[in-house]
């Protein structure tokens, strides 16, 4: 499972906190408002019920009173429904409409027993307040039903408003969390950027100091680390370069002197000629070893990118390496890409040399150039590279197991390490795969801006 980033988590925590807080507040507000509105409504209902009851009591005062007429004379507005119960019979202004059924028996019992009562009851899809007032003097009971529709509408508007506020608060919480995390993580972001720049070989990258003393510590210690590591790496590099450099002059003498011997090889006896051959081969290998070492010592510098016609370059190099032109297969919709031409040449040249030395020769060079990257594949027909050696082959002085079994001493053991460094300088990738049909496939991907 993918772990959420720190920034996403901070944002989520802020949003969740805001959500909990605003929901709790909204809930409390709603409950308080509802209770107080209901109480007030109940008091008002009781007040009017008593008033109406006294009116009815007066109306029922005489002999054989017209209860319905008394009810009709009552001014109850639109909402309230007056009912009278006398001698087990219900009286209302109009047809019952099931109103009497909504008056609970327990309430009726209380009122019959002479206790005024009020209860909230469900009425159709809403609810209503039923107020019961005993009219003992006229031996009847007065009930008044006040629907709470208006109150429900008010509460529903209120709950919507509160819900909206809670949602807005949550979103605001998330935004604040996002901003806070950006501020808090900004030193991490700049450290990550600097580290990326350094990884690509530019040791000059440093993190800007922060005004915040807590965050500044990170910047200062990161910069100090880079200073020290770069100083160490620089001195290692300089040592390798110095050593190789000091080897150049004696090598030049060896190389020239050997060529003088080599020229006279035919005039020498067999033993001397064999010795001269050994000398010539080893001096040549020594030369390429030193030049590879020097190249390696300076290849941690950033790539010098410039618009390069990689297709033409690839074909020219293949030709100069005595490969058949059909070996190069090009596709993609671009030809020119911003890469370091010198490094690209060495990548390809070393991969070709590697295939020739360890893989039985190049069978295909695949080049695919898009506007923002190129993909280069060099296929050979050797034994391939075992899975557990695939990372090791890019190490310095690592040579394929097959090669060491053959006792092969060709090559400097630095070719693929150089490839890896040149690829790294471009922030690209290089990997070894199995070629379909046997053999190894070295695949290089270089990102680059299109020219």
């Amino acid at each position: 499972m993918r772990v959420l980033g720190l920034r996403a988590r901070i944002t989520a925590v802020f949003a969740f906190g805001a959500l909990v807080l605003s929901v709790a507040l909204a809930f409390a507000t709603y409950e308080l408002t509802r209770t107080s509105l209901l109480d007030e409504r109940e008091r008002a209902a009781i007040r009017t019920a008593y008033f109406d009851a006294s009116f009815i009591r007066t109306g029922l005062g005489g002999e054989d009173p017209d209860i319905v007429a008394a009810l009709r004379n009552l001014d109850t507005g639109e909402a309230r429904r007056p009912l009278v119960r006398r001698e087990g019979q219900w009286f209302a202004r109009s047809a019952d409409n099931g109103l009497t059924g909504s008056i609970p028996a327990s309430l009726q019992q209380l009122v019959e027993d002479g206790t005024p009562a009020v209860q909230r009851v469900p009425l159709r899809d809403s609810s209503a307040l039923v107020v019961g007032v005993p009219l003992r003097t006229v031996d009847a009971a007065y009930y008044e039903i006040s629907p709470l529709t208006e109150l429900h509408r008010t509460l529903s508007v209120l709950s919507q408003a509160l819900g909206g506020v809670a949602l807005a608060t949550t979103v605001a919480g998330a935004v604040v969390g996002w901003l806070v995390s950006r501020r808090v993580l900004s030193p991490l972001t700049s450290v990550a950027q600097a580290a990326g720049t350094i990884a690509s070989g530019d040791w000059s990258a440093r993190v800007a100091r922060d005004r915040d003393p807590d965050l500044d510590k990170l910047a200062v210690s990161f910069n100090r680390m880079v200073d020290e590591v770069s100083a160490r790496s620089e001195s290692d590099r300089r040592f390798a370069a110095d050593v190789s450099h000091e080897l150049r002059s004696p090598l030049q003498t060896l190389s020239a002197a050997t060529s003088v011997l080599d020229r006279r090889r035919d005039a020498l006896d067999d033993r001397t000629a064999a010795a001269v051959d050994l000398l010539t081969d080893e001096v040549a290998r020594f030369e390429s070893l030193v030049s590879d070492l020097l190249e390696l010592a300076k290849s941690d510098r950033p790539a010098e990118r410039r618009p390069t016609d990689v297709v033409t370059l690839t074909r020219a190099l293949a030709t100069s390496k005595q490969l058949s032109p059909d070996i190069v297969q090009v596709d993609g919709d671009a030809e020119v890409l911003d890469v370091d031409p010198r490094r690209y040449e060495q990548i390809l040249a070393n991969l070709i040399d590697n295939a020739n030395k360890h893989g039985g020769g190049v069978v295909r060079i695949g080049l695919s150039v898009a506007h923002d990257r190129l993909e280069l594949e060099v296929d050979d027909e050797g034994a391939g590279v075992p899975l557990d050696e695939r990372d090791l082959v890019f190490d310095r002085f690592a040579r394929g197991r097959a090669a060491s079994m053959r006792g092969g001493s060709e090559g400097t053991g630095l070719g693929l390490a150089l490839v890896a460094q040149h690829v790294q300088a471009h922030l690209g990738t290089v990997e070894v795969l199995d070629r379909p049909g046997g053999g190894a496939r070295f695949r290089v991907v270089l990102p680059g801006a299109s020219a």
Binding site: T253, A256, E287, A316
Partner: protein
């Protein structure tokens, strides 16, 4: 036999190069300092000069500049230094080619042969005079005129111009130019082309910063526009 002058302070390198290049058919004169090299070249001008950069007394860069003032003898730097800075400085000083030690004798010899080759692209049927705006090129006579004025080019600059003129209007990549002018059959140092192109522009363009004839084709190379 072509006369070759080696200016190199390391006795062993100097001797081994002398032996090896004599085998390649050169008459070699070797000196350990730039001062002696200049005296020698004034007394008996060489056909080719090999110069080391790190020399006691006058250094290789000054030696190249002094030789250049004396004429257009092809100069090859043989140095253990391969910093871009050194390469460009030596080429700017007037060197024709730059090889890094250790260099195989076969390769050095190929470099030297390429430098001694006459300007190509001027076969029998080649026109006597080529015109590119104000630039007038006479391959046979080895002359270049800018307007009415004769321009002095080194042999390498002249060959660079001839190769571009030969393919006038077409783009030549740096690799192709290296191949044709310097004889690099394998990939070579593209800085050679860029520095020489800069020097050539300063001599034949009215405004070298905004060349109208020797134009760079981004990502491809150079061409000579009519």
């Amino acid at each position: 036999m072509p006369r070759l002058l080696i200016v190199e302070d390391d006795d062993r390198i100097r001797l081994s190069l002398k032996l090896a290049l004599e085998d390649e058919g050169y008459t070699v004169k070797d000196v350990p300092t730039a001062e002696e090299g200049l005296v020698e070249h004034k007394a008996t001008p060489a056909d080719l000069v090999l110069v080391d950069l790190m020399l006691p007394g006058m250094d290789g860069f000054d030696c190249i500049r002094s030789l250049r003032r004396l004429g257009d003898v092809p100069i090859v730097v043989v140095s253990a230094r391969d910093d871009t800075h050194d390469v460009v400085a030596a080429l700017e000083a007037g060197a024709d080619d730059y090889v890094v030690k250790p260099v195989a004798v076969k390769e050095l010899s190929a470099r030297l042969r390429a430098l001694r080759r006459r300007a190509s692209g001027s076969g029998e049927d080649a026109p006597k005079v080529l015109r590119f705006g104000e630039i007038e090129l006479r391959p046979e006579a080895g002359e270049v005129l800018l307007g009415e004025q004769e321009v002095h080019l080194t042999r390498t600059e002249f060959r660079l111009l001839c190769e571009l003129a030969d393919q006038s209007g077409r783009v030549l990549s740096r690799q192709q130019l290296l191949d044709r002018v310097w004889g690099y059959d394998v990939y070579g140092d593209e800085r050679l082309v860029d520095v020489h192109m800069g020097r050539l522009r300063r001599k034949v363009e009215r405004d070298p910063a905004n060349p109208t004839h020797l134009v760079t084709v981004r990502g491809l190379g150079y061409k000579l526009a009519p």
